[in-house]
């Protein structure tokens, strides 16, 4: 099977308009006859549910938190990109498009990325109209900053809480529709299965997380907006609840899963302090503007930091990448840090950390200037580590952060299951092998506010409304399966907690499918994961029952899916015999240690089809065709 991304033909800049001309519309009077389920209320889900409700569809929106305002998008700090060119520094839609495609190491679709860059401008207008308090300058105009290596200032921000403010904007729009009666909210609800009728997505099976009740919702179409799966590594910068369950269960029902091995490791996170740690905290990348990264030249050093003389310090980024130095891109900086730690030169508890030293900058600019620039980050760092980063260097270490892989979708955001649409981080579409900073927020909102309302109409216009009902046997069967799985989990009554298994899985993944992978490490993972999974199904312990609020049962279900999904991720990493973006195969590097991409053989999206629990998934390829740009090597020397 050759996968068709269904991109419109014609000139790049006209593709989206052309598609919108071709898409069918639903008559306004008919819209209320259609019901759409939106799973997830982060940026992608909240914006989609609000807009679809506003258009007049009946919408039901689900999330596992107690309120849609708490979707993981709330945590995004840095900002959101747009090609407004307000600072007049040479930005354009084409430049944003090009930077994004190149940043993704040429592993994304041209047409999608161009559309994203175009819509970025509408997003800023929309959010400002909603009252999102984006930063302004003294003249009252919107303020911008630069971010993630871009040479133009195209990032819009709201202090260090951009994701929060954008989500509150979408949540407000959603709340307005709740009042208008077009959207019904189902918080504290987890989707546990996708239901197909005649091979089309027509509903979901859910667990009410308060009562434990399993039930089904039928509809005319389903939108999955359930976020990323970086928590497969156990420790990540994601919220604790972020998981792969909805996407994985849709995959089991026939939706292809694309590029699962593309994960982004962020270089500047607060290091792990011990086994008790439950998550990792991101420190803004901007710190590397003034901080210098180093480790002692010779292994573990018992001396106090200040007693390590200059000539015994290894400023390894400056040494290896004299051109970019401490500002080397995320994937490069992350790998370099891991290398020095693997050599036994890491600092801090467990030797998994490198110094980010501001003493030079403080000497040059004064403590006050540094406090003005990064004060809040220094405070946050002190809260977590009890160390004063003005007095001694910060310790940082890379951490899993964002997942570029996800369910495969075409240009209309439809998965390989008709009627199942996938938005935001849950789909694979726009970031290729690496995501540039400030572009995930952009994608989530473009998908939700502007793309899905047009594309879903085309599907609905060809569908007779209200054909599915939760009484149908397909729904009953799905409920039974969900109940059986819960019953099975509860009946094991083993010795280890779900968390124990998640932690073990995380270790396997980080060591073998992490920042640098090899055939050997991936094969090791492919041996260890099934062993751990087998043990899980014999030895997990879940207290309580299924007919009540049971957080351990929730956790165990998610861990079970991570255990399955991890294998798919390793398999994908194994088959991709090249290095690109966040996927670094040590067999494929240049003599100087840089990534070696292989466009002749791997210029495609790898989409995997589930073939049953005991068979290997089947690989399908969507060739990536570049008509408007030339593929180039990324170099940062």
């Amino acid at each position: 099977m050759i996968l068709d991304g269904k991109c419109p033909t014609g000139p790049l800049a006209e593709k989206w308009d052309k598609r919108r001309q071709d898409l069918k519309l639903v008559n306004p009077a008919n819209k209320r006859k259609y019901k759409i389920l939106v799973v997830g209320t982060g940026l992608a889900g909240a914006s989609a549910a609000a807009t679809l409700g506003e258009l007049g569809y009946q919408v039901e929106a689900f999330c596992f938190q107690d309120s849609p305002r708490r979707g993981h998008s709330i945590a995004a700090q840095g900002g959101i990109n747009a090609a407004k060119n307000y600072p007049s520094d040479g930005d354009s839609i084409f430049r944003l498009f090009y930077d994004t495609i190149k940043g993704g190491d040429f592993r994304s679709r041209e047409a999608n990325v161009y559309r994203l860059a175009t819509l970025s401008n509408n997003i800023i207008d929309q959010c400002v109209a909603q009252g999102v308090p984006l930063a302004r300058d003294y003249a009252g105009y919107l303020d911008n900053r630069s971010f993630g290596g871009a040479q133009v200032s195209r990032t819009f921000y709201a202090r260090g809480q951009t994701g929060q403010q954008l989500l509150l904007g979408a949540y407000a729009a959603l709340s307005r529709q709740v009042k208008a009666g077009t959207v019904r909210l189902f918080p504290r609800t987890e989707m546990l299965d996708l239901v197909l009728i005649n091979n089309e997505a027509k509903g979901i099976t859910i667990r009410d997380l308060v009562t434990g009740k399993i039930s089904s919702h039928a509809a005319d179409a389903v939108c999955l907006c359930t976020g990323g799966y970086a928590n497969v590594f156990y420790l990540s910068t994601n919220a604790m609840g972020s998981n792969v369950t909805a996407a994985y269960r849709a995959y089991k029902k026939g939706a292809l899963f694309a590029n699962p091995c593309f994960t982004q490791i962020h270089p500047t996170c607060i290091p792990v302090t011990g086994d008790h740690q439950s998550k990792l905290t991101l420190m803004s990348e901007s710190l590397r503007n003034d901080g210098r990264v180093w480790v002692p030249k010779t292994g573990a050093d018992a001396r106090h930091l200040k007693d390590i003389p200059e000539e015994e310090r290894d400023y390894f980024l400056e040494r290896k990448y004299p051109g970019f130095g401490n500002l080397a891109p995320r994937d490069i900086a992350s790998r370099a840090a891991k290398e020095v730690c693997d050599e036994g030169r890491g600092v801090g508890p467990g030797g998994r950390g490198v110094y980010l030293d501001f003493s030079n900058a403080i000497g040059r600019l004064g403590r006050e200037k540094i406090a003005e620039r990064y004060g809040n980050l220094f405070e946050m760092y002190e809260k977590i580590t009890a160390e004063n980063a003005y007095e001694q260097p910060m310790r940082i270490y890379p951490a899993p952060h964002y997942t570029m892989g996800g369910l495969w979708v075409d240009y209309n955001l439809q998965s390989t299951i008709p009627g199942l649409f996938v938005l935001g981080e849950a789909n694979f579409s726009d970031h290729g092998a690496n995501r540039l900073g400030a572009s995930a927020l952009m994608q989530g909102l473009a998908d939700g506010y502007f793309i899905i309302p047009s594309t879903i109409a085309d599907y609905l216009a060809r569908t007779v409304p209200g054909q599915a009902s939760a009484e149908q046997p397909e729904f009953q069967k799905s409920q039974e399966q969900v109940e059986t799985m819960a019953q099975k989990l509860l009946s094991i009554k083993g010795k280890k907690t779900a968390n124990d298994f998640h932690r073990d899985l995380g270790r396997i993944m980080w060591e073998n499918v992490g920042m640098a992978r090899s055939r050997e490490s991936l094969n090791r993972a492919l041996k260890l994961i099934p062993e751990l999974r087998a043990e899980f199904w014999e030895n997990v312990r879940i207290p309580g029952s299924r007919s009540e609020l049971n957080q351990e049962l929730e956790k165990a279900g998610r861990v079970a899916d991570f255990l399955d999904f991890a294998e798919l991720m390793a398999l994908d990493a194994l088959h991709r015999e090249e290095s690109c973006g966040g996927h670094f195969r040590i067999e494929h590097q240049m003599p100087d240690g840089e990534a070696r991409r292989d466009d002749d053989h791997f210029s495609y999206a790898a989409a995997w089809e589930f073939k049953g629990p005991d068979s290997n998934p089947e690989l399908h390829k969507e060739p990536l065709v570049f008509e408007n740009i030339q593929l180039a090597t990324r170099s940062y020397k």
Partner: protein, 258 residues
């Protein structure tokens, strides 16, 4: 560190609930408060007992999900800090710690430390937004907003909706939360047009949900993890008083024709 915990255990809304004594041994000062509870929970599970149910998600102090009253203070003893960002080094070896859920009429307990805060969502649903459709809006720079106004809006908009203000207030008032939203939108030209209507709707919603009124205890400001200022309650009151005449005229004018 070794600690003694007294944790509120309540099976469900119908259960009366009681404090249960639980030991927490081998706690590292580097742990967050929630990681300490994770550890206690793992022990409980291994012993075949029910773990303590509590809400949390981002563990970064931003989602507003975590909610525990620690030694009588919502979010615990450290200023401007959520429970998930509170670290155990703020306690001493041998300490006894009391952990309870938010207590307020408008926040019924669901289980143990988990309460139902959907009343806050309903306050927003009553009118805490700008009524703008998606698409067809003007360029973002066509409406100028002074830096001061934008900053004031942002100061108010930082509220994470955790509900600690309600839990700390002797009247169980949600006026800091509502005041923050009202002030955020009233500070911006886009939000001004509906300001009068909004403040009336949101105030009515607060009353309907069973939240009390502010009588100037300032407990809300003291516990707010985001440092939301009580002056926004004053803004709320001012907006309300400003709104009343106009809204009354509208209501009177309407009653004839409706």
């Amino acid at each position: 560190m070794d600690l003694t915990l007294f944790v509120w255990r309540q099976k469900g809304p119908a259960d009366k609930g009681r404090l249960e004594e639980l030991p927490a041994a081998g706690i590292s000062p580097d742990m967050s408060f929630l990681e300490m509870l994770d550890l206690v929970n793992e022990e409980l599970i291994r012993k075949g007992k029910e773990p303590i149910a509590f809400d949390h998600d981002c563990r970064e102090g931003i989602c507003g999900m975590c909610s525990q009253v620690i030694n009588g203070i919502p979010h615990g003893p450290q200023k401007k800090t959520t429970v998930c960002q509170l670290h155990m080094r703020n306690f001493r070896d041998g300490d006894t710690i009391y952990i309870e859920p938010w207590k307020a009429r408008a926040f019924p307990v669901i289980k143990d430390l988990i309460v139902d805060r959907s009343s806050l969502d309903r306050i927003i649903q009553s009118g805490g937004y700008v009524s703008v459709h998606t698409g067809g809006v003007p360029d973002a720079n066509t409406v100028l907003i002074s830096k001061e106004e934008a900053d004031t809006a942002m100061d108010a908009a930082e509220c994470i909706g955790c509900g600690a203000c309600v839990a700390a207030c002797p009247n169980g008032s949600a006026m800091l939360f509502t005041g923050a939203k009202v002030s955020h939108l009233a500070a911006l030209p886009q939000g001004r047009i509906e300001a009068a209507r909004r403040v009336c709707m949101m105030t009515a919603a607060m009353l309907k949900e069973g939240f009390g009124n502010c009588s100037n205890h300032y407990e809300c400001e003291a516990v707010c993890p985001k440092g939301i200022k009580a002056k926004f309650i004053a803004t709320l009151n001012r907006e309300y008083i400003k709104a009343i005449p106009g809204e009354l005229i509208k209501v009177r004018g309407k009653s004839g024709s409706d």
